[in-house]
Symmetry: C2
Subunit: 312 residues, 2 copies
């Protein structure tokens, strides 16, 4: 994707995700003088709320310039002239359908239309649009100004050109856009994380381990391991010369035994109060600033190592 | 645990896990001149095999001294006089039962007895022992000379004193020993990892995402996140002021939808050849030295940050 010298990105919705994306885009815009980020939000006093809240998403890297921010007061004003329109509004199908039908009337024909939804597929969101080829889900891993992953989930109608321009946009900014090939429930990252969360809840609920001990287990094993090599690569390496097949030859029975014995907790089945209150007791209010600062350090190491690997 | 000036650790079994533990212990022994690590293995030419293979587990930190290694030629010679006896032999119940019954005859009464098994509980391993109070599982996350986690899984007979001396030993060496309160199938870390692996296999098998894209998703989201804050802490933070309860209030339905839709693949159901061969094509032979070097860098950052947190 060739970026115009006056790149205009419009963000619809100034909740946590919208502002985090705004901070990310601003920190990658500041050298393009005529470029800016427009934010549109229907809450009262949106302008003062946005200008006050944004800086908390900046972190320590290259603080962006508020002079590159525009606050729009109408949807039409927000989207006309935009190259990219990214919505992070409420998770409500009717609202999103109405939004895109209205956006379509005022946005340039070539504008990329992205939804940050964690659950409502583009094919449903686009139902009231005339041209359904331009919309896709661009689902971040929270918070997007820190975490590199973007799951790109097109509908069957999304055009290949829109997909490749979207991939290119994120790649040029050092991010990791991954194409999800089907509009599956929860996309990929959340399905994986929630599978592990389900077993975590089961193990705490059945008295095998405490919440803080379970977290320490993950922090001192899978977390750092999977930051370097994902599950397939890890187990492929763990199988020796025979790879993943060797791994399953060696301990496939243990894997199956764990699967057979896995917890099947469901939301609303009564484990909630014990788990929620233990989490409150152990963690209180989490200092996400501290967490994000350390996460950035790890991501910097990983980016540096990837760069080294590329230069080899 | 007070360490004697002549700490003697005996390792039974010189496979990958045994040698990795040997490298770890040696790198923490070298300043104690009269201390040593004894290795016992029944393979032919054990001595030359061990002395040739050990150095590949050293890494770059403080290379240990081979002069602190003793190679035993009999089990009796290996365990008599030892303070700690750690077995990393074949995953075979009969072998382990016979081993511990024999070890018990020759080891000092106060010696700690640890099994590295990933699946055979201490209560079964101890069945032919007279004194069952001294044995527990000390399950590493591979490779133990790099990864900080040790799952301590006592049997109902293991004495509290043995458990606390074991915890203390690992804590003094900067490791993360976590007590697992029940002898559950697969213990905790593998159950969690295998839950995520099951969903990973399902998503690749059903064409949603490729093996390398799934790994890149985990490497750029959950991996670095969970290295800093485990799943409960992460979602507790993600729920804002209402914590984990707020998280489930917000997206509990999406979580349940993912659980309802989760894959139920089993070993031997036919997905294997596609998945194994895709892993081979993408990764070939994984450079675990490179992986371990990068993992050490991340772990060093995390240890430094924990140290900072403690000094606050």
């Amino acid at each position: 994707m060739e970026h115009p010298p006056d790149l205009k990105i419009t963000l619809i919705g100034a909740g946590t995700i919208g502002l985090s994306f705004a901070a990310f885009h601003l920190s990658h815009l500041s050298h393009l003088s005529a470029s800016h980020v427009t934010i549109y939000d229907t809450r009262p006093n949106a302008e003062s709320y946005i200008l006050e809240s944004l800086p908390q998403f900046y972190g320590t890297h290259s603080p962006p310039l508020l002079s590159n921010v525009r606050i729009a007061t109408t949807l039409e004003g927000a989207v006309s002239g935009a190259h990219i329109i990214q919505e992070s509004g409420p998770e409500n199908l009717a609202i999103k359908q109405a939004l895109w039908a209205e956006v379509e009337k005022h946005a340039p024909e070539t504008a990329l239309l992205w939804s940050s939804t964690s659950g409502i597929p583009a094919s449903l969101q686009a139902q009231d649009m005339t041209d359904k080829t331009r919309l896709l889900v661009v689902h971040p891993y929270n918070p997007p100004h820190i975490m590199p992953l973007l799951e790109l989930v097109p509908s069957p109608d999304t055009s290949p050109n829109v997909i490749s321009r979207t991939e290119e946009f994120w790649r040029q900014r050092g991010r990791v856009p991954i194409l999800v090939k089907k509009e599956i429930t929860g996309f990929v990252a959340n399905r994986l994380a929630f599978a592990l969360l389900r077993e975590s809840i089961h193990l705490v609920d059945s008295g095998v381990v405490s919440i803080s001990d379970l977290d320490r287990i993950v922090e001192s094993s899978m977390g750092p391991r999977w930051a370097v090599a994902g599950p397939f690569k890890s187990y492929h390496a763990g199988g020796g010369p025979a790879g993943l097949e060797g791994f399953f030859n060696n301990i496939g029975q243990t894997v199956q035994d764990c699967w057979d014995d896995a917890g099947k907790v469901n939301v609303g089945e009564g484990w909630e109060q014990k788990i929620f209150s233990e989490a409150r007791e152990v963690y209180g209010a989490v200092d996400t600033g501290e967490r994000d600062r350390i996460t950035r350090r790890l991501l910097d190491v990983l980016a540096e190592e990837r760069e080294k690997g590329r230069r080899k």
